[in-house]
Symmetry: C2
Subunit: 199 residues, 2 copies
Amino acid sequence: MADHIEPLERLADMFRRLDGVGKKTALRYAFNVLNFSESEANEFARAIESVKKDIKLCSVCQNISTTDVCPVCSSVKRDRSVICVVEDPRAVVAIENTGHYSGVYHVLHGAISPMKGVSPDKLKIKELLSRLKDGEVSEVIIATNPTVEGEATAMYLYKLISPLEINVTRIANGVPIGGDLEYADEVTLRRAIEGRYSL
Amino acid sequence: MADHIEPLERLADMFRRLDGVGKKTALRYAFNVLNFSESEANEFARAIESVKKDIKLCSVCQNISTTDVCPVCSSVKRDRSVICVVEDPRAVVAIENTGHYSGVYHVLHGAISPMKGVSPDKLKIKELLSRLKDGEVSEVIIATNPTVEGEATAMYLYKLISPLEINVTRIANGVPIGGDLEYADEVTLRRAIEGRYSL
């Protein structure tokens, strides 16, 4: 039976580990790959390996990068006095796509969530605080997701950072509550950045 | 910028080649892979290579298989006097999933389509006709998709096979017109097989 063709099933199983991919979609993807050329399939396999092998964290902002310091942190065009704090690299992509942010970033790699066992020490908060020491930073924009965890993280960071006499802002709720930064359209995100308010 | 992280972009580009995957979904999948463990990612890469390397066509029914003769064709439980002709291996999966078909298959690998430049000689029709020579086959069920191309292929095969004094049937239009066998539910497909009519 065709659904017991082991290599195809194994590949479909891998596709099912991707967000929102069910049984039929996974099998469809596997059949797509079967119709790829040999070189296309090899390219696909190499691309998967490369994502794990060649991507590390930027030593400054903790965003994913192929270099030790990411292009944003090493760019002379970016304003180092403003740091936008986000939960994950996808949020950086979303904000960069607005084309209306010229500061730098800090990626926490998560949000505080007692339910999921994510305590503050599991996030890149220590790294953020050490960036704030030298007095160069005048504003920290907290752009964690507008969810319970994201808001809790924002309040936690506000309490840590505001004693340092740094302006702490939060992106405006142009971003729909309960949503995810990754799926916000560019205009909404731009409004959210422009309409940020002091905490 | 995170959307210019080359390995991630390259992987997203590969995901975009899968059916129905757009820019945002492709990037989301690439990030999913980034969060895989090293061994999971390697397993994924190996699975893709394996699909191209280890799958060939069954020498009898032309379905995809890891062996020279596929499990259906080599099974003693299957009725070799009935051949179900389908456009692609996905249709075999769909029909096998009904659990109500005990004959064997023949996979054409496409349907006649002058628009797409698919002429009859590009399909596995010669291979089908050679299976009908020895007089063992009493019925050919044509289960091409209920689309213009599928119906045209059905009529073409009927004209070729009916002179051989073999009963040529077509699955009933329980399958919604314009649809694809892969997405039909099992009950609908079962009705379609039971309600087949003589051409």
